[in-house]
């Protein structure tokens, strides 16, 4: 039947996406490939809704088809006239009634499924949860990893690492306009509203790199506000976190040292922070370990020295409207600055 063929094709397409994503090493950004329990619950709900809606859709098509096929046809010689019987047909009344009952029952079923999904989402155990405060800015993500002991907290930007198998509680805030946090492989969307705090609880069960992006129009560069979530085995995560707590590397190499001097005496120090130096401004991403990140400018560019130089020279060519101004440093100074930032592992 046409219905089962289309469904099968649909399911096959889903499967191929999952398969392809599992095989490729690139970040996964798909609601159809859940990597944690929250996204899995949402995917289950999505599957149920898809099946029900597909079924209803097919049934409606079939009914329309039958109605067209069985409709009485008049000769072209006959004049158009109202049918003799003006009252409702008994057969029609039964069909309509049963369709209404069926629709209601199916909708109720979907509501119940949704409620069950909400319950399942809320049942994520928060034992030993990792707390991260995510603050959205135009157009980048700021993250502060919280700890019971204040001196073990650290800041990073645009790339989150989380341990697998451990719940993560994200506290979501915004510094300017409404943004929305969406990492489809891990959970649904949650708005970050200025002046309010919201919470998102998720967990990654499979290691991997998951891509997310801002899901609420937030200005000129809304489309270039991506983030990466790296889920790692707990031991690997702890090593990463310990490294993040360390102050910035102090390279003695002359070009990097000159780059550090340029950083501290020109525009960079007005907006960025590097732990362990005098730079502690909060308007741009924390750069203490920027060399370790995979992308620059919230996913706009892969993190390479060439791209970094292009970015610093004129961010407006890559992300027009971004709040970082072009630089008028002489080329030598710019190369030294890039060398310094490259040393910030």
């Amino acid at each position: 039947m046409a219905t089962s063929a289309s469904t099968l094709r649909w399911l096959a397409a889903c499967g191929s996406v999952v398969l392809a994503a599992a095989v490729r090493a690139e970040p996964l950004q798909s609601v159809l490939a859940p990597a944690g329990p929250q996204a899995a619950h949402l995917k289950d709900l999505w599957d149920v809704m898809l099946l029900v809606c597909t079924g209803v859709f097919v049934a409606v098509l079939v009914a329309v088809g039958i109605a067209l096929w069985r409709a009485p046809r008049a000769d072209s010689s006959q004049r158009a006239s109202l049918p003799q019987e003006l009252g409702p047909q008994r057969g029609a009344r039964r069909s309509v009634l049963s369709a209404v009952v069926a629709s209601t029952l199916l909708l109720l079923f979907l509501i119940v499924a949704s409620v069950f999904t909400d319950r399942a989402l809320a049942r994520l155990s928060l034992h030993d949860a990792l707390h991260i405060e995510v603050t959205a800015n135009q157009w980048w993500w700021e993250a502060r990893y919280d700890d019971a002991q204040a001196s073990r907290m650290f800041n990073t930007a645009n790339e989150l690492h989380i341990p697998t198998g451990r719940p993560v509680v994200l506290t979501l805030r915004s510094n300017d306009v409404i943004h929305s946090f969406w990492v489809p492989a891990l959970h649904g969307k949650k708005d970050l509203i200025p002046g309010r705090t919201s919470t998102l609880r998720l967990q990654a069960d499979q290691a991997g790199t998951y891509r997310g992006q801002c899901a609420e129009f937030c200005g000129y560069q809304h489309t270039t506000m991506a983030l990466l979530v790296m889920a790692e085995p707990p031991a690997q995560y702890e090593a990463w976190a310990d490294h993040q707590r360390a102050t910035a590397a102090l390279s003695q190499e002359p070009q990097a040292a000159r780059g550090r001097h340029i950083f501290m005496t020109t525009t960079c120090v007005m907006c960025h922070s590097i732990q362990g130096t005098d730079a502690s401004a909060r308007r741009g991403p924390d750069l203490t370990h920027v060399a370790q990140r995979q992308t620059l400018a919230a996913g706009a560019l892969p993190n390479t020295p060439e791209n970094l130089e292009r970015w610093i020279r004129n961010p407006q060519h890559i992300k027009p409207g971004a709040n970082m101004p072009p630089s008028d440093l002489p080329t030598d100074d710019l190369k030294a600055l890039v060398a310094y930032l490259g040393s910030l592992q």
Partner: protein, 198 residues
């Protein structure tokens, strides 16, 4: 029917003509027009040893600042003024001069007293070169374009800008009516305000 249309023709034409000004849209200049300084650019003399952000490095390592190579053109650009408002807070200007320009560490920017002059060039020099009595020198720390944006915003604090250009609201707790609602101050001539040394 066609005669009725013909009679309304002038009205339609007038309405269309009135709509034409809407085609003019304010340009948002994201890209900075100022070219990198060439060796021929005149160096700028800082008027104070106070500079932001480099306390540990000492005056001997002060980067060279240059005179501006572009002119002030943001007096009527609302986007630039709103960027200036954002930078006013980001670079801690609002802490020294108060969020509404009323003054604190630094003098008031919202009144008619301008110790070093109210023209855009004066304000640019105050920001870039600094001033002896405590205004830090921000040249090389704030780009030329951003400095002009700040100049435009500072002028809006005392109502110098047209009402449709100055910001119409604040995103923070308000201290007084927004810049667009302020009456235009008439800047007094420059003079020493009190007996203390400057």
């Amino acid at each position: 029917m066609s005669s009725r249309c013909l009679r309304l023709w002038p009205a339609f034409a007038a309405a269309a003509l009135l709509c034409l000004p809407a085609c003019e849209r304010e340009k948002r200049q994201f890209d900075s027009p100022s070219p990198p300084p060439t060796p021929a650019s005149a160096p700028m003399m800082r008027a104070t040893p106070l500079q932001p952000g480099n306390a540990q490095l000492g005056a001997s390592s002060v980067p060279t600042a240059h005179m501006p190579s572009t002119d002030y053109r943001y007096e009527n650009n609302a986007f630039a003024v709103s960027q200036g408002k954002r930078l006013y807070r980001w670079y801690n200007c609002s802490s020294c001069h108060a969020p509404g320009g009323g003054g604190d560490w630094g003098p008031a920017l919202s009144d008619d007293q301008w110790v070093y002059g109210s023209s855009p060039a004066n304000i640019f020099a105050s920001i870039a070169e600094g001033r002896p009595a405590g205004m830090p020198s921000f040249a090389a720390h704030i780009s030329e374009d951003q400095t002009w944006q700040l100049v435009a915003y500072v002028r809006s604090l005392s109502g110098q800008l047209p009402k449709d250009v100055a910001p119409g609201r604040s995103d923070t707790m308000s201290g007084r009516e927004p810049e667009a609602g302020r009456d235009r101050e008439r800047p007094k001539p420059m003079e020493k305000s009190d007996g203390n040394k400057r």
